[in-house]
Amino acid sequence: MSELAIEVRGLRKSFGDKEAVAGIDLEIAAGSLAGLVGPNGAGKTTSLSMMTGLLRPDAGRVVINGLDVWADPAAAKAVIGVVPADARLFERLSGEETLEYAGRLRGLPATEARSRAAQLLEVLDLTADARRLVADYSTGMRKKASLGCALIHNPPVLFLDEPLEGVDPVSADAIRRLLTRIVGTGSTVLFSSHVMELVEQICDHVSIIDKGKIVATGTTEAVRDGKTLQQAFIDLVGPRSSGEEGLSWLGSSSS
């Protein structure tokens, strides 16, 4: 197996009595485009937050490119880029200022930050709206600007939480091509998603999380096991409710 970019061991997190992440282990090889899929409330966002140093775990270890996130957060944070589920951006900065600010915070010289910001805005189809305040951006535009912030320092490992939620098909295609291109240069991408078709199409590695535990992980082919990823997912996670017999009142033919 090639060198590991992301290595997670025994990661746990509880909120009060609820165990959100119940000890997950994960290994993602460098240069992978990996998907993390799971039903709502399975622990995807909590896991990604702990992997990126934004949420302190109760137990466990996360190593990114050989750097322990919780023993040496400074070094680990320098090699990652993060796109959170709810694009967290400065509402009163323009798109252009937002990307430049992210670059300068990451220690890039101002001229380099500006130049990279302009190129990213171009690729993300935001140039026409570069001088508009982020407060006036749509959900998809925010997602794209957030991706620009995560990429501006050229991180070798990228984490994305639901990167295509609320993004139109044209922009989604642009993001997909961008992610494939990043991975082609040897960087690693781990993203969570509900869209099985997307994960099946572009990911070479997939992990399924349910009730805070990884229930399947490996190459996409291995996890699918000859079925569609959607079917494999439902087989592993199981239907969420027992049946519809209690809904006899529902439907136009009922009174």
Partner: protein, 529 residues
């Protein structure tokens, strides 16, 4: 409908109580203060018995309660979840029963009950005879109903406006005159009264026009019934009821519009500058640039500066307008001004909200955290130093003691240093999530964290007061020295002292933040912008 919404409000209260210790603490504080208002209000109104100006004073207090109902939801409390038209819009509800339900929900809780109890003090203070007491009870109930309907009308209209960014931006500026009015009622008038500048007789003129406003109608109806004019009393109560019906009708119209109107303003703003300023100054410059832009573009930040100015003027107001001269009050203005600059920025993580995560991801070392806090202080200092200096000069001229400007500016500079030092430390140690509640344009402590706000005000004001004490002592001791030498030495030394405090604050805050960044991120994520 009324039952469902009242039950919903009670359920929300209970759930909030169960959610956290902070929420319980806030609830108990709020209930305690409601009790104090109930007992205190009742006592004060009852004290007016036998006073020749009792009806005038009662009118003023009734008006003050109405103003409280009008302004507090906008300034501090917002609306509760049961009263937001947006949450009810998807349900097939007819507007009239919905309005009755919302009114009943508004009347549920400790504060409406405290209002009724407090105002019932008129049954002792103003009412006389059986008919007088009966009219007093009806007048109090109508007065509280008037307050609730008025507050709902204003907040429902605002809630509609607050759904767009531009509407929010405009609404925030409403805070400035409201805040100035509240400060005038809460600070200037009581202090002037305590100094003898305002007596019971001063309200005689005020009453001549206040009596025609709804709270005045309620108060005068009680007096009419108690002095043998039941017909006039009934006419006044009828007029008050008619006002309530008109307000209710306007509210129902506003509510039905609010249920189907998305927002009041569209369009988007373009920025002129293509790049961030302070390009040569690395991370510190980037953070200073971001904070500087926010001070200009974020209406809440602009309002904070305006509030600081209002507070400074209010502290000196009794000397400017009153009969007694206390020139030292300009120094007190400087202390309060600096203290509030510290408080307004003492929860910078919660105030920044979720975008703080972008910053936290890049703050990888103690050094970068120092750059973060000092960048923030540079942006605030660039505004605060000239603002406080100018106000101190203005106030010293207004109290006709220009010589007070020098010690006041010295205190302001040292105080600002202490304020920024404390705001950095409190940002890390007393961080709490903030939220924009329905019906209020301002961001406030998220539900359950109001006690943190009081902690922030107390720590900032007390800390600044303690830190500037040496400057005040030195200013007093050197007051007879030649001004040409004293003024520059005092100002330069105070500024240096202030800078030393800022330097210490940045170092302490950075050291503490290094270990707490994940926790600070969680607080930021819980905030809403």
């Amino acid at each position: 409908m009324a039952r469902i919404l009242v039950q919903l409000k009670l359920r929300l209260l209970l759930n909030a109580l169960r959610s956290s210790t902070a929420a319980r603490t806030t609830f108990f504080f709020s209930t305690f203060f409601a009790l104090v208002v109930a007992v205190g209000g009742f006592y004060v109104l009852a004290l007016f018995r036998g006073n020749s100006a009792s009806v005038d004073l009662t009118t003023v207090i009734f008006t003050a309660f109405a103003l409280g109902w009008l302004t507090l939801p906008i300034l501090a409390t917002g609306l509760d979840g049961t009263l937001d038209p947006a949450t009810l819009a998807p349900y097939p509800l007819r507007t009239r029963p919905l309005a009755v339900g919302l009114l009943a929900a508004s009347a549920t809780g400790a504060w409406p009950a405290a209002n009724v109890i407090a105002l019932l003090g008129v049954t002792i203070g103003l009412a006389a005879g059986g008919l007088g007491v009966l009219v007093a009870v009806i007048a109090v109930l109508l007065q509280v109903l008037f307050c609730i309907t008025l507050a709902r009308l204003v907040t429902t209209s605002l809630a509609r406006m607050l759904r767009s960014r531009r509407g929010k931006d405009l609404a925030v500026f409403l805070i400035i005159p409201i805040f100035a009015l509240v400060e005038l009622l809460g600070q200037v008038i009581p202090r002037a009264a305590a100094e003898g500048g305002i007596t019971a007789a001063s309200f005689a003129g005020v009453d001549s026009w206040l009596r025609w406003l709804p709270p005045g109608l309620a108060a005068h109806a009680i007096q009419d019934a108690s002095t043998g004019h039941p017909g006039t009393a009934l006419a006044r109560l009828g007029l008050l009821a008619a006002v309530i019906i008109v307000l209710g009708w306007l509210w129902i119209r506003s509510l039905s519009r609010a249920l189907v109107t998305a927002d009041t303003a569209t369009g988007s703003a373009q920025v002129r500058a293509a790049t961030l300023p302070l390009a040569r100054y690395g991370r510190r410059g980037a953070v200073a640039a971001r904070f500087w832009i926010y001070q200009r573009r974020d209406p809440t930040s602009l309002v904070y500066w305006a509030m600081t100015a209002v507070i400074m003027v209010v502290v000196s107001a009794s000397t400017i307008f009153g009969p007694h001269q206390h020139p030292g009050v300009v120094i007190a203005s400087a202390v309060f001004g600096a203290g509030f600059v510290g408080y307004f920025h003492a929860n910078s993580v919660g105030f920044t909200g979720p975008p703080f995560v972008v910053e936290a991801l890049a703050l990888t070392s103690r050094r970068s955290l120092r750059a973060y806090f000092s960048g923030q202080n540079i942006a605030l200092g660039v505004i605060a130093v000239p603002l406080l200096t100018a106000i101190c000069l203005g106030l010293a001229a207004a109290v006709r003691h220009p010589d007070q400007a020098v010690p006041a500016i010295a205190v302001a500079l040292a105080g600002l240093g202490a304020a920024l030092c404390l705001s950095n430390i409190l940002t890390v140690t007393l961080a709490y999530p903030m939220a924009t509640r329905t019906g209020s344009p301002m961001r406030q402590a998220a539900p359950g964290y109001a006690s943190y706000t009081f902690g922030g005000i107390l720590a900032s004001l007390a800390g600044v007061a303690v830190a500037v004490t040496p400057v005040i002592i030195v200013a007093a001791v050197t007051s007879s020295d030649p001004a040409a030498i004293r003024a520059p030495v005092l100002i330069v030394c105070s500024a240096a002292y202030g800078l030393a405090l800022v330097w210490a604050g940045v170092r302490i805050a950075a050291r503490e933040a290094e270990d707490r960044l994940p926790e600070l991120c969680q607080i930021a994520v819980q905030s809403t912008v």
